[in-house]
Amino acid sequence: MGPLIQCRNIVKIHRGRGIDGAKRGFKAVDDVSFSIEKNGNFGLVGESGCGKTTLARAILYLDPPTSGKVLFDGVDLGSLRSRHLRAFRRRMQIVFQDPHSSLDPRMTIYDSLSEGLVNIGMDRAARTKKINRLLDLVGISGAMGSRFPHEFSTGQRQRIVIARALTMDPEFLVLDEPVSNLDVSIQAQVINLLLDIKEELSLTYLFISHDINLVAYMCDTVAVMYKGKIVEQEPTEELFANPRNEYTQTLLASIPGGAGRISGASTNIAKDGTMGNTASAVRELSKGHVVSNTTGRTGDKPDLTGGTR
C-alpha cells in the first residue's frame, strides 16, 4: 500500500505583531517531512508548544504551510483551488482535545452531526439513518440525538465529536489529544473505540499526544517533535528499544515509573543551596512564548521550561 499522506519540507512561520514579530516571525514548524501509509497509525509526540497542533493544521490546510508540500493520495493540496480543496476536506477530519468547546452548545447532537451532510445535499431520511448508525457505532443511543451537549458527560461528548468526524466518511483522521481531557477509566473506553473504528472503517490516523506511553500503545510509527522539528521517527518498538536522539531519551526517561527513577536523586542540592537543574534565564521567543535559556545540569540535554498553556 502506498502512502496516503506525504509531507515534504513543511515550514510554518507565525508572524506576530510588532517590528520583530513581523520581520522574523516564529518558526513553529521547521522543515518537517514524513509520510503516513494507508491504514497507518502515525503518532506524533512532543511537549506543549513544540508545534504538534500547528503541524496538524498545516497538513489539513486549515492553516496552509508557509512552504512545503502536503500530498494527499498523491495530490498536492497546495495546488488545488478552494473548491477542489473542499472536496478533499471531506476525506480528512479532525477530532480536537476539548469536546466542550468543539460542540455548539445551542445545537442538538443530531443537528451538529447533520451539518456536513446537509451541505452535501443528503436528504433527511438518509441523514437520520446515517446519524443513527454513527451514534450507535460510538456507543450512544440514537434516541439521544435530540439532546444538547450539556446533557452529556465529557466522555460521551468526545464520542459524539468522533461520530461527527466520521459523518463525511473520511479516510484520514487527525486526533489531536483526543483523550487528554478524560479520566483514566473513560480514557480507556475512548481509546478502545478509536482502535475499533479504525479497524472497521479502515481509517488512517495521525494521533497527536504529549503522552509518549499512550502514543506507543496506539501507534505503529512514532515521530518525536521538539521545537518545531521532528527529531526522531521510528517504528514504535524500535524507538522504545533504541532511542537515538538525546531528546527522545530525555522524554522516555521522564515517563513516571520509567527509566528516570527519582529514588537516586536525594542529594541534588548543590552547596550554594541551588538545585542542579535550574532554569534561570528565560527568553521570549514570541509573545507569551517563553523558553528557558539554560541547559540542564547534565550538560546539553534540552531543558524545556517554556510553552504557553
Binding site: Q187, H210, S254, V290
Partner: protein, 329 residues
C-alpha cells in the same frame, strides 16, 4: 512504616454540597492518617473528592455551599473543625501549607514573587523586611530559582509554568510547615518538567521531614513519588496500602481495573480493560458499595450493604466485601 503518632488524622469525614436545593455527597465518610516524613498519595478520578479532602484540611471549603456533616480532622491531636477562623489562620500557611494545580491562578499577578514570599514570612514568622528578603532568596535557591536572583523581582507572568510552580512551592514551604498538601502540582506541566518538580518535592520532604499529601489522578505519578497510596472513588477511600504493596497486589476491583486501563506500550494490540458505565453521580446516595454499579464482581450483598474499610495484613486496607478472595478481572 511509621510507628509514631500521625500528624493529621481524618475520621469519618462527611462533606455535602448544596446547590440549587440539590444535595451532592462529596465525601461519604473518609478515614485517613498522615505521618511525618511520609508522602501519602491520594489518587482518584475527577469529582471523586480529592480536592475536597485537601480543602477540608485547609479549612477552605466554600461556605455556605459546603457543609461538614460529621467527622473530625485532628492536627497533632487538636481538632481543626471546631476552631474559629482566626485560630485556624495560625495553622493554615504556617503549619499546613498547600501547592495548587494551576500556579498561574494562585499567584497574585500584581506582586513580584519576592513580595509574595516576604508577605508570608513577615506575617507568620514576624521577620522584618531585611530578614524576609534574605529568607526569600534562600527559599528561591532551594526550589531552584536562585541562580541570579532574577525570580525574586519577577512578576508571575514573566515566569514559565514550571518556574511558577517552583515559586508556588517556595511560598508554600516558606514557613517550614509540618505538612504540605500538593494538589495535582504537576498535572499542567510537561513530562520532563513534571519529573523535575516531583524530584524537588521529594528532596524537600526529605530535607524538612514534612508529611505530605500528594493528590493526583495519575497512578504512575503516584507510584513515582508516594510512600503510601489511598485510592478514592465517589467520596470514599476504597483501598489504601504502601506503594510497593498496592502495585503488586490490589484488594479492591476498582484499583485493579484502574491499573489495567492504563495504556502501556508493552501491551500494544491488546484491548485495554475498561470500567463500564459512568462515575457514580454525586447526588446519589446508595445503600451499598459506591462502586457496585460498575463492578464486574458485584453480588447482591454489594448493593445491600456498604463495605467498611477493613485492615488486612501489612497495613493494607480495603473497602470491599470480597477483598480476601482471589478474583480474576
Amino acid at each position: 512504616m511509621n510507628t509514631t503518632e500521625p500528624i493529621i488524622t481524618i475520621e469519618n469525614l462527611r462533606v455535602e454540597f448544596t446547590q440549587e436545593r440539590q444535595k451532592a455527597f462529596a465525601l461519604r465518610g473518609i478515614d485517613i492518617a498522615f505521618y511525618k516524613d511520609e508522602i501519602h498519595g491520594l489518587v482518584g478520578e475527577s469529582g471523586s473528592g480529592k480536592t475536597v479532602t485537601a480543602m477540608s484540611i485547609m479549612g477552605l471549603l466554600p461556605k455556605p455551599a459546603a457543609t461538614i456533616l460529621s467527622g473530625s480532622i485532628r492536627y497533632e491531636g487538636k481538632e481543626l473543625l471546631s476552631l474559629s477562623e482566626d485560630a485556624l489562620r495560625t495553622y493554615r500557611g504556617s503549619k499546613i501549607a498547600m501547592v495548587f494545580q494551576e500556579p498561574a491562578k494562585y499567584l497574585n499577578p500584581a506582586f513580584t514573587v519576592g513580595e509574595q514570599i516576604r508577605e508570608m514570612v513577615m506575617l507568620h514568622k514576624g521577620l522584618n523586611k531585611h530578614q524576609a528578603e534574605m529568607r526569600a532568596r534562600e527559599l528561591l535557591g532551594l526550589v531552584g530559582l536562585g541562580k541570579d536572583g532574577r525570580a525574586l523581582g519577577a512578576y508571575p507572568h514573566e515566569l514559565s509554568s514550571g518556574m511558577k510552580q517552583r515559586a508556588m512551592i517556595a511560598i508554600a514551604i516558606s514557613c517550614d510547615p509540618d505538612f504540605l498538601i500538593a494538589d495535582e502540582p504537576t498535572t499542567s506541566l510537561d513530562v520532563t518538567l513534571q519529573l523535575q518538580i516531583l524530584k524537588l518535592l521529594k528532596i524537600l520532604k526529605k530535607m524538612k521531614r514534612m508529611g505530605m499529601l500528594f493528590i493526583s489522578h495519575d497512578l504512575s505519578v503516584i507510584r513515582e513519588i508516594a510512600d503510601r497510596v489511598s485510592v478514592i472513588y465517589a467520596g470514599k477511600i476504597v483501598e489504601s496500602a504502601s506503594v510497593a504493596r498496592l502495585f503488586e497486589h490490589q484488594m479492591h476491583p476498582y484499583t485493579r481495573l484502574l491499573l489495567l486501563s492504563i495504556p502501556d506500550a508493552r501491551h500494544r494490540g491488546k484491548k485495554l480493560a475498561t470500567i463500564a458505565g459512568q462515575v457514580l453521580d454525586a447526588t446519589n446516595d446508595p445503600q451499598g458499595c459506591v462502586f457496585a454499579p460498575r463492578c464486574p464482581l458485584a453480588k447482591e450483598l454489594c448493593y445491600r450493604e456498604s463495605p467498611k474499610l477493613i485492615a488486612h495484613e501489612q497495613g493494607h486496607t480495603s473497602a470491599c466485601h470480597f477483598a480476601e478472595e482471589a478474583w480474576d478481572l
